[in-house]
Amino acid sequence: MIPPFLRQPNDTKYVRRKPRAHYITKTLLSLVRVISLAISRFYLSEQKGLLQRTPEVLKVWMMLTFLVVVSVVHRVESQLILLAVSLGLSLLSQINFWNIVRQALLYVLLFGLLITLPASLNVFNGGKIIFSLVTFEHPHRWWIYSIPKEIGITREGLEYIVRICLKILNSVSFVLLILSTTGFENVIRGLRSMRIPHFFLLVLTLAYKYIVILSQQLYHSFQAMSLRGWNRTQSDLEKEIAAGRIGFLFRKGWEHYDLTYKAMIARGFTGEFKMVRKNGYKTENYLVGWALFVMMVVVLFFDRHG
């Protein structure tokens, strides 16, 4: 027998509340977003671009070479050439370079601009003032510091900031480019070719896989909660809910691991993880590797003698 309330439409009024999520909830949802990003990276890495076809080990070497060159070249022009190299590689790999730069700009702002901004002033570095900020009647001396009569932004200071920011931009964007073109599965293959123990790789693969599955479950749990009108609850209750979700995920994870291990045993697993070896290097891979190496040498030469 259907209860009477189910025969009547609801007549409650909407009470406006300020949506506010607890920090545990925020953390969990951020985690889900990071994992979703990792999944979208897989889609990018599935495209058939140049870097996607390049073996993982070669990509690691290319990345290391690029990072070393970025850190040793000093001229702004050299850094711009390196940025152009990244742009070229991303075009050949069908990756939207602007998206990568946008992600890298956050690091540039945090670790480049904000930290080095004072260096643009003549208080810390000498040089020719190109934009005056404050002018005093006379210079000041305080303890070991001396404050000049005119404080302003110098050409040398600006060049220094641009150089640091470009270094960070180049380093981060190249690393992101490599990550965007390398699926997790290929990272595992790369590690395997570097003689990392099989069991470690297996654990890593399982962990990655279950993080994805569990994060999806977590996300669906929160979706279900929001469908039932959840946007703000008492703090204690919210903590309990979040803790309950974490506990649920641990239990679910444990059950999954147990069954997966059984599935492995059922398919003949005895402790040694055997995989198919991937095909060796192709001519194109050698060409890409050498081309980047030669380009790096040219940039170094230009930076020193150009």
Partner: protein, 270 residues
């Protein structure tokens, strides 16, 4: 027909005092299709895991080709290798069975563990991908597959091992009608190829389609009956008692009525 499994008075408890299976006995013969039928929680999956040597009876015994299946016996490498290559198991939850980086790796995993050459493992995988029509999924990781695709990959991953006995837990779970008919066709083909197929389900339509021998478990986790599919399907009272059919409501023109029958098969009306 030769006997493959002999299940004798088998009982199992996950939690002390709570039986998942109680004194179940039956036999499985070479090249037959056997359906283990029962409602949710009747012990079907537990029984299949025992047949695959993943769980062991707390009471009673299971014999595989005359040899008792025990934890100790399965530690013997020769026996283990032989048993694992002969008995394949498709889990109910396909996602737990898929643990390799990509679908292709998943398919070659079994043959490689059983010491087949890489070339042979790859050849088998290519052929099975064609059979299951999953070539386009080759480089996908398992978490990027739909439920139906996962099921297909899980079955494919077992088929590359070419086992003589295939245990399938809920083969119809999460499949759309087209995929269901694909799986039923596949089961018939495998049976014709000489495989012994043991499946666990609560879908009466599957029992009706396969017309196999049926081992029926009741809600007390005991054996209710071993009989042909026809005999089981006609025993309405038994199906009600084992909670496989109940009163179903359905509509004729404007009238909703309900009566005791399985709704997808033709049934009488008063």
């Amino acid at each position: 027909m030769d006997e493959i499994f002999n299940i004798e008075q088998v009982s199992f408890q996950y939690v002390p005092g709570v039986y998942a299976l109680q004194q179940v006995s039956f036999r499985i013969y070479e090249n037959e299709i056997l359906t283990i039928l029962g409602s949710n929680g009747s012990g079907k999956s537990t029984l299949l895991q025992m047949l695959c040597g993943l769980l062991f009876p707390m009471e009673g015994s299971i014999y595989y080709r005359g040899q008792q299946l025990t934890e100790k016996r399965l530690k013997d490498r020769d026996f283990q290798h032989d048993f694992r290559s002969q008995v394949g198991f498709v889990f109910q939850q396909s996602e737990v069975q898929l643990f390799c980086p990509t679908v292709f790796d998943e398919l070659v995993f079994g043959p490689l563990q059983l010491d087949f050459s890489e070339q042979e493992a790859i050849r088998r995988s290519e052929e099975i991908m064609q059979l299951m029509r999953i070539e386009h999924l080759r480089n996908r990781p398992s978490y990027m597959l739909s439920g139906g695709e996962r099921k297909k990959v899980a079955i494919a991953a077992v088929l590359t091992m070419n086992p003589q006995v295939i245990l399938i837990d809920e083969p119809m779970g999460g499949l759309d009608p087209k995929s269901r008919s694909f799986v039923i066709d596949l089961l018939f083909e495998l049976h014709q190829a000489g495989k012994t197929i043991v499946l666990a389900t609560h879908h009466l339509e599957l029992v009706s389609s396969l017309q196999s021998r049926v081992v029926l478990l009741n809600e007390e986790h005991r054996l209710a009956k071993v009989a042909s599919a026809d005999e089981i399907m006609q025993d309405t009272e038994l199906l009600v008692r084992t909670n496989l059919i109940g009163e179903y409501a359905h509509k004729h023109h404007d009238k909703v009525h309900k009566h005791l029958w399985y709704p997808f098969t033709p049934h009488p009306h008063e």
